[in-house]
Symmetry: C2
Subunit: 157 residues, 2 copies
Amino acid sequence: MPDPATNLPEAVTVDDTALRAYFGYRMKRCFNAIQADLAQALKPFELRMLTFTALALVVENPGLRQSQLAEAMDVERPNLVTVVEELVRRDLITRDRVPTDRRAYSLEATAAGKRLFADAAAAVEAHEKTLLAGLDPQLRAGAIEAMHHIEKGRQRG
Amino acid sequence: MPDPATNLPEAVTVDDTALRAYFGYRMKRCFNAIQADLAQALKPFELRMLTFTALALVVENPGLRQSQLAEAMDVERPNLVTVVEELVRRDLITRDRVPTDRRAYSLEATAAGKRLFADAAAAVEAHEKTLLAGLDPQLRAGAIEAMHHIEKGRQRG
DNA sequence: TATTGTTATACTCTATAACTATA
DNA sequence: TATAGTTATAGAGTATAACAATA
């Protein structure tokens, strides 16, 4: 039954026709949903998306420097300091001076770090499987391709 | 030439194989890029993505209540207070008590609000056109469909 | 009791400027 | 001079708890 004052149904059915077509709008809503879900999936490991991503890249790239990590993660260097600190404090990665360049630090995952990453990665994969359940694999691949394309295009322009 | 200390090339070519496949990772990077770009496109109108979205929904749904707006935007009610305040202060929307429910407020766009929205929407459309240039229209539609599917699926689960 | 909007508050992510120590 | 990492700081987005007014 519509509310006579607003002429809108009591149940919320808001018209977002003008926004639906916007890629950015759709993306924001979807990303918020994923982000919130993923945070839950990572909670048992006391990881956030940011720390999980950093750990993944260090595991996969032993000897990585912080500046390289920052560039790979597409965040500014200062924002990585606390992330690296946290992973070091938890003995998930080590952080040693590079002998040939004493300004730089070399990051490496510890055995514990590799173990935690493996477990967390499995949880993330399970989460994504649930998240993307019922989604045509071709649609999924297409979406990933589209997002990659947009990201690359922006770097050029 | 590889750095002998890290055994990594000096030029940053970090391996993110383990992350590439993650929808969330790809999405985060892409969304960050879009968000930063869109903020630039909206700057001339002194709008952010959040205020633009709110304005769009009010223009399209005259008489909307704040709680409906919050639900439509998928944010918690408290986070909308300053957004609505800002739009009211700039005379882009009005905010009147609902006679039949004196707890609620009814939001409506002013003539100036509608004008600004039309102009901003044109800028956003131009921005998206640039952003998605070179992207197969079918890929774009597929990506939007995938994102919508994921968002809806999360609400169910 | 429940709901609308509000206040207060806190946490996360992000960015910029300026510093240090090295190169 | 330039670069790696740091500190300090600020801004935006988000969430929760508790409140007043009203239903």
